[in-house]
């Protein structure tokens, strides 16, 4: 059975698109047929991070409005042939996303793919609600700061009230995962950021991973290669762990402590 995973947060700029691109790439690398959909109509971003912006011809809205077939709109990823991208439209308005339209497209994708990853726009408006409506699982992306936690809490409320599973009173609700991103152990230990325990306690849902703050993320998105492909980056490795956990493996949490500087780097002061 195909699984629909929404990547959501309420607050903007916390790392949803970065996470969608890396998690979808990771699932695909492990042989799962995966498609990642950009729900951020008007603010295309996912295709940039995946480095396929020049190959966009048709988009999600074209498919919903039956101006193009899914086959025409889907873009095959250049790193991983089990990954496809359904880009967002940059020109259309958000009203184009209707519940029926989105539902039909997802049904069709479920025939072919094992995983459908939905990159949600920020906010709690229509686009965000559409992205989470059909979800089976949710990755709630949260930065370790009060306002981001508050918005994630809000989104969790919406998941439990306005999703299809909730509206139909289905027996199994959406499976929620907490993903803390842009975590800096140093700033947390100085009390400038909430600790992982704080965030977990406030939101009360299981933790699926902690992605450390790292420059490699920005470099990766500039290069159009999701950071999960960068084996040397702590963020990339942390995303590998997240994908493994989503697939049921258990892995210890890493990158929670400040890295001890090696003898040489201390000597040379880098």
């Amino acid at each position: 059975m195909a699984k629909v995973i929404v990547v959501t947060s309420g607050k903007g700029g916390v790392g949803k698109t970065t996470t969608s691109a890396s998690v979808a790439s990771g699932l695909a690398q492990r042989g799962k047929k995966t498609v990642v959909i950009d729900f951020d109509i008007g603010l295309r971003n996912l295709d940039l991070i995946l480095g396929c912006e020049r190959r966009v011809v048709y988009d999600f809205v074209n498919v919903i409005q039956k101006e193009a077939s899914l086959k025409q709109a889907l873009i095959r990823d250049k790193h991983c042939d089990t990954l496809s991208i359904l880009p967002a439209s940059q020109t259309r308005d958000k009203e184009a996303l209707t519940r029926e339209g989105v539902g039909e497209v997802l049904e069709e994708l479920k025939q072919t793919f094992d995983y459908i990853v939905c990159d949600s726009p920020a906010g709690i408006e229509r686009g965000a609600v559409m992205a989470l409506y059909y979800a089976d699982e949710a990755l709630v992306v949260t930065n370790p700061e009060v306002s981001s936690v508050r918005d994630s809490d809000r989104i969790l409320g919406i998941l439990s009230a306005k999703s299809k599973r909730a509206e139909e009173g289905q027996e199994t609700p959406i499976k929620e995962h907490l993903l803390v991103t842009r975590y800096s152990p140093k700033r947390a230990s100085l009390g400038e950021m909430l600790s992982i325990t704080d965030v977990q306690e406030l939101l009360g849902i299981p933790l699926v991973g902690v992605i450390p703050e790292s420059e490699s993320v920005l470099q990766a998105s500039n290069a159009g290669v999701p950071v999960i492909h960068d084996q040397t980056s702590p963020s990339g490795q942390a995303y590998q762990d997240v994908v493994a956990r989503l697939l049921g493996e258990s892995r210890p949490m890493r990158f929670l402590e400040e890295e001890k500087k090696g003898f040489l780097s201390r000597l040379f002061g880098t």
């Binding site: 709690i124 508050r150 918005d151 809490d153 809000r154 969790l156 409320g157 919406i158 439990s160 009230a161 406030l202 009360g204």
Partner: protein
């Protein structure tokens, strides 16, 4: 005293539909809490002014509330009621009349013509006292209060023979930012966290057996004896019968993260007291 508002229960018997093929509908039995409007007069102007006063005390409680009209006292006094202007009045006040009880045969006919159901049975209990929680006590509302109290005593004597349990709402899931839970006509028990930005409201008491980080308002229809109990105090705002306190920065150290109870003392001061040592 011409009108009394009481909460009663209406019962619907279970009906079953055979499940062989996909049904177009389901019929299910259910029990609802309804407000009963007991009329002591047929004078519409009196009814209107008194009803408006009551609604002003708890506008949220009465907005779009379904009501059952009880005309028993009229029958006893040998009074008739002109149904259609009365129903128009209720609708203007944003109440939704749904049924009548204790109607005489001509009243039953009038009620049916007006689209109302004839209700049978239903135990009645008093709503929490309707005293205004705001200190604007002009002569009129003072009078209303006394009469309410008198009547309450009368009612209590009556109900001694048949006690009716209050309706308690129990919530097992965390209540998250932006969500609101209202326990109408009774107590609220919450077994998971009430997070910052969430609001829990009850006509009766509130119990939270988890951290309370949001807003909690008990006795919102005026019950000054309502209390809030919580296991881990960190609220943004607490209120009893409209007497509220905001914790702009944080809850004072003495009670922060402690188990507390919150109530109004004799001089209507909001008290926050640690519980259980």
């Amino acid at each position: 005293m011409k009108t009394v508002l009481t909460a009663g229960q209406a019962e619907i018997t279970d009906l079953f539909v055979p499940k062989e093929h996909k049904a177009a509908l389901d019929l299910k039995g259910s029990v609802f809490t309804l407000t009963v409007l007991r009329l002591h007069t047929n004078d519409l102007t009196d009814i209107e002014s008194e009803l408006k006063g009551k609604i002003a005390q708890g506008p949220r409680f009465f907005e779009d509330a379904p009501v059952v009209i009880d005309v028993e006292p009229l029958k006893e006094a040998g009074l008739e009621l002109d149904f259609s202007p009365f129903i128009t009045l209720l609708r203007e006040l944003r109440l939704i009349p749904v049924g009548v009880r204790h109607a005489t045969p001509p009243q039953q006919e009038a009620a049916k013509r007006a689209g109302l159901a004839l209700m049978k049975g239903g135990a009645i209990r008093d709503l929490p006292s309707q005293k205004a929680s705001t200190p604007e006590s002009d002569a009129k509302s003072a009078e209303a209060t006394t009469t309410t109290r008198q009547h309450k005593i009368e009612k209590q004597a009556e109900s001694e023979t048949a006690p009716v349990p209050t309706i308690t709402k129990v919530i097992y899931q965390p209540i998250r930012s932006g969500q609101q839970i209202y326990a109408r006509g009774g107590d609220l028990i919450v077994l998971a966290a009430v997070n910052a930005g969430a609001e829990i409201v009850a006509d009766g008491n509130i119990h939270v057996y988890a951290p309370l980080r949001g807003r909690a308002l008990a006795g919102v229809t005026g019950d000054r004896t309502a209390r809030i109990f919580c296991q881990n105090m960190g609220a943004e705002l607490v209120s009893i019968a409209g007497h509220y306190r905001v914790f702009e920065d944080n809850v004072p150290d003495a009670v922060r993260h402690k188990a507390v109870q919150i109530y109004l003392d004799e001089s209507e001061q909001l008290k926050i007291e640690p519980m259980g040592g």
